[in-house]
């Protein structure tokens, strides 16, 4: 059954000191889809991402990815298997150059022997050159090549966001997880981002999971949406269904007694 789904999560629960951050969460995600996860702040969305990428150990539940159980793997193992992520608050390697941020990510599947690095063998040089070119190409996709030599921390905000996604993509993932990519972007930038994500999905044949508050983006981008509230799945469905689901509107807008005119 796992074969049909790239990612399958069963009965996942996490709690912090008695507070349930995620409770009995389920997901079956077929390949090449874009899933959106929405919900109020503190609903457990980022916790879910952290569990998925190995940064937080779940209390119970199972995560299968590409037919393998990855529930208690280390983050770097999960990354090598093909899940890559961006962070809600940008986590770049600030002092490294933009290009190096991507190269360091590209090299994930390379095995360089220590001695060849010291003696600069021909194969090593070739390999380094290939890495550079690969990273450069990726930067071009994101339009960041003109900043390649700048330190990542000196980039403008929007560029930093895009660099994060570029870095995540450089590991050649099957599943890309993006945490609030449009936070702090203006409508134009958001539109560009939307186009970019669609382009990436096509170009790299990606499956994408997205957390986002910007409804425009979510509704236009996602093929399927899950709504989290208080760590539980409040609703899931197609974008249109979600948009009209009164429960979702209430949960998301916290609007009950002045039942909205919408």
């Amino acid at each position: 059954m796992n074969a049909d789904f790239l990612l399958k999560i069963d009965a996942l629960s996490v709690s912090f000191g008695g507070v349930k951050a995620l409770e009995n969460y389920k997901l079956s995600l077929p390949p090449s889809r874009i899933l959106g996860i929405i919900g109020p702040n503190g609903a457990g969305k980022t916790t879910l991402f952290n569990v998925l990428t190995g940064f937080i150990r779940p209390d119970s539940g199972h995560i299968h990815f590409n037919g393998q159980e990855i529930t208690r793997w280390e983050p770097y193992q999960i990354a090598r298997l093909g899940i890559s992520r961006s962070f809600q608050n940008i986590c770049l390697f600030g002092k490294l150059s933009v290009l190096d941020n991507v190269i360091v990510s590209c090299q994930i599947h390379e095995r360089t022997s220590f001695l060849s690095a010291l003696s600069k063998t021909r194969a090593y040089k070739k390999n380094e050159k290939a890495l550079r070119e690969k990273a450069w190409k990726l930067l071009c996709v994101f339009g960041l090549e003109k900043h390649a030599d700048r330190r990542a921390m000196t980039l403008a905000y929007g560029d930093q966001r895009r660099l994060e996604i570029a870095r995540a993509l450089a590991t050649a993932p099957k599943l890309l997880i993006i945490d609030e990519p449009a936070a702090g972007m203006n409508p134009n930038e958001t539109q560009d981002l939307l186009d970019l994500i669609l382009k990436l999905k096509e170009k790299f044949n990606l499956t994408i999971v997205l957390i986002e508050h910007n409804m425009n983006l979510v509704m236009q981008l996602c093929e399927y949406i899950q709504v989290l509230n208080y760590g539980r799945l409040a609703a899931e469905g197609l974008p249109l269904e979600i948009q009209q689901n009164q429960e979702v509107i209430d949960a998301y807008l916290g609007d009950t007694n002045n039942a909205g005119s919408n």
Binding site: F16, I56, F87
Partner: protein, 299 residues
């Protein structure tokens, strides 16, 4: 000496030694909880306290006056240290301030060596150590009683202070959440200065007891106590005042009983065992014996 008497004598030794460690540790932990600064110069504050007391006494000041004035001077020295050495670095990485405190150690130890000479000086201001009473060949000296009682009194006062006074509660608030403390209008500098002042007063008291116990003082006397106090602080749970006291006693007991129980050829390894204990505790229970388990925010 019977086995029981032997055990109890070592117990008294440990209790007395542990009290002094606890005193040093309280001051260290107080500053750490607020500034996240491991002040390695805390031991040198002890040294400054002892020197002040000795110098005042040599100058003819009555002994109790000299002690009080010396301890207060020690407190002032702590405040000056904060103002001159640590305030310009406020907000720097923990490692930066840690290294700076090492530089302060070099500065103070060499400075005092230049001023007063490198030599050990006798410190017989309070000749506390003569045994006062004995129970079944177990000797208890004045300094044992004074160390334990003083430590408990200071623990009690400190606890009252941080529970009941505005500035005490402010200290806990700052340790808890710096941003929120700013927002409610706590004057951070005032809190930090108070913490340094009080911590340094304790260092002064600890310096007095340490010197009285050894009967001497010298410019480099501060480093060993501060390293031990750090170990004690980690064992007890860094930042927690009762933890500091527990850690001090655990360390005192560990040191005394390691010497008591180890065969002579291994006694020399005592400090190695103490540090292995420290590493072990850090790995098994990083928050220390009494430290609260904080939720680790990883991202």
């Amino acid at each position: 000496m019977s086995h029981t008497a032997y055990f109890f004598q070592q117990f008294i030794n440990a209790l007395s030694l542990g009290s002094i460690y606890a005193l040093v540790t309280i001051g260290l932990a107080m500053v750490f909880s607020i500034l996240r600064l491991i002040n390695f110069a805390h031991g040198d504050l002890m040294m400054i306290g002892s020197y002040s007391i000795l110098m005042l006494w040599n100058a003819g000041v009555p002994v109790w006056m000299a002690i009080l004035a010396g301890i207060v001077l020690c407190g002032i020295a702590g405040v000056i240290m904060e103002r001159v050495c640590y305030r310009p670095l406020r907000g720097s990485a923990e490692m930066t301030t840690l290294l700076t405190s090492f530089a302060v150690v070099v500065l103070l130890e060499n400075g005092v060596t230049l001023l007063f000479g490198p030599n050990t000086r006798p410190f017989r201001i309070l000749n506390f150590t003569s045994p006062t009473f004995s129970i079944d060949s177990i000797l208890i000296s004045k300094i044992d009683v004074i160390s334990v009682v003083l430590t408990l009194i200071i623990l009690l006062l400190t606890t009252l202070f941080i529970k009941k006074t505005t500035i005490g509660i402010s200290m806990r608030a700052v340790a808890d959440d710096l941003t929120a403390s700013h927002l409610v209008g706590i004057r951070l500098n005032r809190v930090i200065v108070s913490a340094f002042f009080i911590g340094s007063l304790f260092a002064g008291v600890a310096g007095l007891l340490w010197s009285a116990r050894a009967g001497k003082l010298y410019p480099l006397m501060g480093f060993i106590p501060v390293v031990k106090a750090f170990v004690a602080a980690v064992i007890g749970g860094f930042g927690s005042i009762p933890g500091a006291v527990v850690g001090g006693y655990v360390l005192g007991f560990a040191e005394v009983f390691l010497v008591a129980l180890l065969p002579p050829e291994l006694q020399g390894y005592r400090d190695a065992f103490v540090f292995i204990l420290l590493i072990f505790i850090l790995l098994v229970r990083p928050q220390g014996i009494l430290g609260a388990k904080t939720m680790q925010r990883r991202i």
